[in-house]
């Protein structure tokens, strides 16, 4: 357990598990990026009505659109903790490990935005496909 009085009148306490939990951030990034792909595959695979597929696709698109914002917020959180622990640990050897995680996060974010764009385009195409299937069902009926 490390306790530090940082410049002003407040105290920050950090345990080893607090500091070590920073290494989970890339994992959170990967899970958040893979989640929409899983939803996309499941939606295409299972037997549900076109309306339900359109509904799931729409919410997948909304989630994907807001995903970079979520990722950058998590990154801001990480960098803030990075800064606080760096001060508590007095810039010793351990803090160099944080820089490695930080660059991993930046790399995943930059690559992730391309992946997200591809997912969004696929979701939009699938959305239009199922919507047009609905209209086509009405069209082919002989009134």
């Amino acid at each position: 357990m490390v306790t530090a009085n940082v410049s002003f009148n407040y105290t920050i306490t950090a345990s080893v598990s607090n500091v070590a939990s920073l290494s989970y951030y890339p994992l959170i990034f990967l899970v958040l990026l893979i989640l929409p792909l899983i939803v996309l595959i499941i939606t295409l695979r299972i037997n549900i009505s076109n309306s339900a597929k359109i509904f799931i696709m729409l919410f997948n698109i909304v989630y994907l659109l807001l995903l970079p914002g979520i990722l950058i917020s998590i990154m801001g959180d990480f960098e803030l903790k990075f800064y606080i622990y760096e001060i508590i640990l007095n810039n010793n050897h351990l803090t160099s490990y944080f820089s490695i995680i930080s660059s991993y996060l930046a790399g995943i974010y930059s690559f992730g935005t391309f992946i997200i764009l591809i997912f969004i385009i696929i979701s939009f195409i699938m959305f239009c496909y199922y919507k047009s299937k609905e209209v086509y069902n009405c069209w082919k009926k002989k009134y």
Binding site: L66, S102, Y109, L117, C138
Partner: protein, 110 residues
């Protein structure tokens, strides 16, 4: 109100809601969410008191900013095409289906 009109209104409402949700997301993206992105961070001196993301190297900041700007540009284009072109076409097709069903007095079943 007969069943055909009720069914049509439900579909019309759904289409309009989709357009509104997309407009809302676009608004959120351009105003609040993009404020989180460190686009202007490169101009800020890397002092820990000024910015949280100062721990990142310049190369990482450049890569993050570039992907964010590209994401924003492509996204705005996609949402514009979706809201101005694709959804109005579906609205027209839904209306056409309704008129066709109404004319023949058959149920409108998508």
């Amino acid at each position: 109100m007969d069943d055909i009109t009720a069914n049509f209104l439900e579909y019309l409402l759904k289409d309009i809601l989709i357009i509104l949700i997309m407009l809302l997301v676009q608004y959120l993206l351009t105003t609040y969410v993009l404020a989180l992105f460190p686009i202007k961070l490169l101009q800020v001196a890397p002092s820990n008191h000024q910015t949280i993301l100062a721990n990142l190297t310049i190369t990482e900041l450049v890569s993050i900013s570039n992907s964010t700007i590209r994401f924003k540009d492509v996204l705005e284009y996609i949402i514009d095409v979706f809201d101005d072109l694709i959804m109005p076409i579906f609205l027209l097709l839904d209306t056409w289906c309704y008129l066709k069903a109404k004319g023949s007095k058959r149920s409108l079943n998508y």
